[in-house]
Symmetry: C2
Subunit: 169 residues, 2 copies
């Protein structure tokens, strides 16, 4: 933070869950971008490759839903991974959908990325401690699962209707 | 989460700080989008309006830096807010930069948004409890500030060179 920022009044922002989440997410992704830049792999691409590696033969819809990626965005991502030779679509048995697999190059890439991921994660844990990481992951999971701990303050319906599902993000 | 997802192996993802941060950030922003949709205001726009409201007369660079928004993205955002009549650029005294102010419409908008923000935040706190919110904000601030708690595991240089600043995100 520059000297200049210290005199700027951020108002309620530093206490708002969404604001601090976004700043923290960008800080973590910045480290990820730098670490994975030599492989030109972004966080969402890494997640997709991980799911395909661990669950060969899933459909596009299944992978997109599992990661909460919109279908249109997912198709573009997969096009790029296929063009670069890391993943492939094969016609599924029912001929109406495609099943996804890593190529040999994709598997080799994932082996190379494992130590890169490990170092990145070690740097993040280093900022929080192992205990801090565990507490953070537990709190974030509560946000994603969207279970209210107490009766909603104003309007019970709002909590439920806005509760996130798997495919809306 | 759909029935189908339960059988998908997410591998290391649910334990990775970046992955859970991103999922939680998207879940919170989804509630924000829904709540602020009647005003067509996105989270980053709300942050910019908040800073200008609380610090009238700052330059574009100062606001962009305070929020960690890239200058090119910031100029586009401000163009839109100016076109919609919520903010304005005025020539600064040194004539080399612009000072930013809310218009009367911008101030009126911010008054209307206050209860919307309050309800949104109440729904988020409801998922965590007040204590959970406080713990979460503290942990996230440690990530953003990027102070290692212990000596880095592998390589001290990596922690420092990749440490986030204010204007890089």
């Amino acid at each position: 933070m520059s000297e200049r920022d210290k005199t700027i009044d951020l108002g309620p922002l530093p206490e708002l869950i969404g604001y601090v989440l976004r700043r923290a997410q960008l800080a973590v992704f910045q480290d990820f971008f730098a670490a994975f830049a030599p492989f030109d792999i972004r966080p969402a691409q890494f997640s997709v490759l991980t799911i395909i590696e661990r669950n060969p033969g899933l459909t596009q819809t299944q992978v997109a839903e599992a990661l909460g990626i919109k279908r249109t965005n997912f198709v573009g991502m997969l096009d790029e991974l296929e063009k670069r030779g890391f993943a492939e679509r094969r016609q599924a048995r029912d001929k109406r959908s495609y099943a996804l697999y890593l190529t040999a190059d994709g598997s080799a890439l994932m082996r190379k990325l494992k130590p890169v991921l490990k170092s990145h994660e070690a740097r993040m844990i280093d900022r929080l401690g192992e205990d801090g990481r565990d507490r953070l992951v537990a709190l974030l999971s509560e946000i994603v699962d969207g279970k209210p701990r107490r009766a909603p303050i104003r309007n019970g319906k709002a909590s439920r209707t806005l509760r996130p599902g798997s495919a809306e993000t």
